[in-house]
């Protein structure tokens, strides 16, 4: 079968779809499912958390191409990431789950627990090439529930000009003490220290984890001396004016905007800011988040998983599997992660990314060292630990509680929620 012929067929299908859709006659849901029954044709729905990409974007074009290759029409909807979990649960409840669902990785274990997702044993997705630290977030109870589409993680961006002015050699920043010393020098030079996001949502936990893990603490024991020292590190920075008070309410975007203003020496932020960093108008560099006593702290993995929700008509899995395989195959993965600005989940594509774009090398290393939030066999327990944890960080930073008290209370809450 020649590739060009199948592409032509797909285009014809697309055009037909457009004729129906563009002429203004809306097709009722019913016809869609009816035609979906016919093997090898019909419409397959994909939900993703990338509402920022519209029809003209590379991402949606890639989805269309994969649909064409599988011989079906793809109907894609982008939802806000915070909405998507509820939307998926609701749709599953109503027996209307999408054929392919792309969700944030810590949600996978929850949806799996709800019985919404098929296992790789059922849907025949191949996960052998995926790095073990990345696939972990999609595994629970010995089953794997999806494939990471790409990954990102956190590191420290620094502003070269500010560090030069403060007389800080970035090579000297190796652990918490030397980082704090660098922040103090920046402040002494009339600049600002570091900005991050400690907002009262999962985003806050995401940003706190590199410091928490970097202290040697474990999520099963929030109030260990190490865990308390991580909270104390942040709250001391606030007290000394090395970090702004606004971090308590900062999203990662707000925090980035502060850094982009050009006064901050450091910012904790993610892979996705690389494009914005180039536009910031100053020279920047990236180092991994240091662990307490030196070395690199594990940062949490971000990024989404592609999964195949449970359908009444199990015959649909075969085509869904083709769609997912298309998006995650070694050939296409490079296009996918480039379209989404992620780091690839497989060694082979990661290497290609580093060679074609040396700037990504540091992020590839960071992703390799990163750790899934739901890993360590936490699974659905993670969200119940994460909520008290971000609460404790907020309480300590706002001065409502001491770091020790905050973490002790959080541990009590987490223990009772997970028992």
């Amino acid at each position: 079968m020649s590739a060009s012929r199948s592409a032509g067929l797909g285009l014809a299908l697309l055009a037909a779809g457009c004729l129906a859709g563009c002429s203004g006659t809306s097709s009722p849901e019913g016809t869609e499912t009816a035609s979906g029954q016919a093997a090898g044709g019909g419409t397959y729905t994909i939900w993703d958390p990338y509402p920022q990409y519209d029809k003209a974007s590379d991402w949606v074009k890639l989805l269309d191409t994969c649909g064409t290759q599988a011989g079906v029409t793809v109907e894609r909807t982008g939802y806000d990431t915070s909405d998507l979990t509820n939307k998926a649960l609701l749709a599953a409840q109503q027996g209307n789950a999408p054929d392919v669902l792309i969700v944030d990785n810590p949600v996978v274990s929850t949806l799996a627990e709800a019985g919404v997702l098929t296992t790789t044993a059922e849907n025949k997705l191949d996960t052998t090439a995926i790095s073990p630290n990345l696939i972990a977030a999609g595994q629970s109870g010995g089953n794997t529930y999806g494939v990471p589409i790409g990954a990102n993680t956190l590191a420290l961006y620094y502003n070269k000009a500010v560090l030069d002015e403060a007389g800080v050699d970035i090579a000297s920043v190796k652990d918490w003490a030397s980082l704090t010393a660098a922040l103090e020098k920046a402040k002494a030079a009339g600049k600002k220290g570091i900005t991050f996001s400690a907002i009262g949502t999962e985003e806050g936990s995401f940003q706190f984890l590199p410091w928490f893990w970097g202290s040697g603490a474990r999520l099963t024991q929030l109030d260990s001396p190490q865990g308390v020292s991580a909270v104390a590190l942040w709250s001391d920075w606030l007290k000394k004016g090395l970090a702004p008070n606004s971090v308590i309410n900062n999203t990662q975007t707000t925090s980035w905007q502060e850094f982009a203003g050009g006064d901050y020496a450091f910012a904790e932020n993610g892979t996705w800011q690389l494009g914005n960093a180039k536009d910031a108008g100053f020279e920047y560099g990236i180092i991994p988040v240091p662990a307490k006593d030196g070395g690199t702290a594990a940062a949490p993995t971000g990024g989404e998983f592609v999964s195949i929700p449970v359908q009444q008509d199990t015959a649909r899995y075969a085509t869904s599997q083709k769609l997912v395989a298309c998006l995650t195959s070694t050939d296409n993965s490079f296009a996918t992660v480039t379209a989404l600005s992620y780091i690839a989940p497989t060694e082979a594509v990661q290497t290609r990314q580093s060679t074609e774009n040396p700037e990504l090398a540091v992020w590839v290393e960071a992703v390799k060292a990163a750790k899934g939030r739901t890993g360590d066999d936490l699974g659905t327990k993670y969200p119940k630990i994460s909520e008290p944890m971000w609460g404790a960080v907020q309480a300590a930073l706002s001065g409502a509680k001491s770091p020790q008290q905050a973490m002790t209370d959080a541990q009590t809450a987490a223990a009772s929620a997970t028992q």
């Binding site: 009262g200 008070n245 308590i248 502060e258 706002s398 409502a400």
Partner: protein, 318 residues
């Protein structure tokens, strides 16, 4: 109008407090009355009954994500309510709800009434300016709330910049447990003033000018006119405005959620933000307790609604 009025209308209409109709006409009048009500009754049943039932049902069962999807959650009676009432968050959240509601309502209504009185005498541009007061309502809450958060930001917010010029130190409006509740109240008052202004303004317009003319002939001063003429005549509209305001204020969650997420450390958590956090603000939703908190709020509104109807009835009788 439709003739398919529901069965209860067959009973003779002797509504307490209403104009009592006697004679052969009353039966026909009842038909007509329910004929006019038929669309709303159908509408309420079609669009509100299910969500309300759903909210009640969610609160009476033990839902996990799995049973939410499979629909086999066990019935647990009032266990969710008990959990919620004994939760450490409940007390502070209730208190914040009371403060948030009372302070917001008092300021919204007073400012709205003052502005309505100000605008009621026409002056050049008054209609245009009055319309511009509604512009905040054109913005999706996500935008207006974010703008407030922007202005109140501790480090780069315009409010602290002004305070700085005036020589006052920065206030951590959204990030200090002492201030966060007051900051979201301020934003909520801003949102609510236009509503009060517009409704009260139309209420003032409905008062016949001849009443004022009579008062003026009696030599009443401005304040006396307001105290003895305007305010009593405006009472029905004021009552419904306050009641609706109460319902809307109890319900506010998006504004607080966007500005502070109910934090820091729960200092701006109200019952409705708590309900949202339980049901939708976490990676793992706990629908049951979330719905229970929501229903406690509904019960609160119910109590105030009853109070309103009693007061109204007393007024009808007097």
């Amino acid at each position: 109008m439709t003739r398919t009025a529901p069965a209860p209308t067959r009973r003779p209409a002797v509504a307490a407090g209403g104009p009592v109709r006697q004679g052969p006409g009353h039966r026909k009048a009842a038909w007509a009355a329910w004929g006019f009500l038929a669309p709303i009754v159908v509408y309420l049943l079609a669009f509100y009954a299910y969500p309300m039932y759903r909210n009640l049902e969610l609160s009476l069962r033990h839902y996990t994500v799995r049973s939410f999807v499979q629909g086999d959650a066990p019935f647990t009676g009032f266990a969710n309510y008990l959990d919620v009432l004994t939760d450490a968050t409940f007390g502070p959240a209730l208190w914040h709800t009371v403060v948030f509601t009372v302070v917001s309502l008092a300021f919204q209504f007073t400012l709205g009434l003052a502005l309505a009185l100000f605008f009621v005498r026409n002056f050049p541009l008054s209609a245009t300016l009055r319309a511009l007061f509604l512009v905040p309502w054109l913005l999706p809450l996500i935008v207006s709330s974010s703008t407030w958060a922007w202005m109140l930001n501790s480090d780069s917010g315009v409010v602290n910049a002004v305070l700085g010029v005036l020589g006052a130190g920065p206030v951590h409006w959204l990030t200090s447990p002492d201030w966060s509740l007051w900051s979201v109240i301020a934003a909520n008052i801003w949102i609510g003033v236009p509503f009060n202004l517009v409704v009260l303004y139309s209420g003032l317009q409905a008062i016949s000018p001849s009443v004022y003319e009579a008062a003026a002939l009696d030599g009443a001063t401005g304040w006396q006119r307001f105290r003895h003429v305007t305010f009593p005549l405006l009472r029905p509209v004021s009552a419904i405005t306050l009641l609706l305001g109460l319902v809307y204020t109890l319900k506010v969650f998006d504004l607080i959620w966007i500005m502070t997420k109910g934090g820091p450390s729960g200092s701006s958590t109200t019952l409705s933000t708590w309900s949202y956090r339980l049901g939708f603000g976490n990676l793992v939703p706990s629908f049951g307790p979330g719905a229970a908190v929501g229903n406690i709020l509904i019960a609160t509104a119910l109590a105030f609604g009853l109070l309103y109807i009693r007061l109204q009835r007393r007024q009808d009788l007097s």
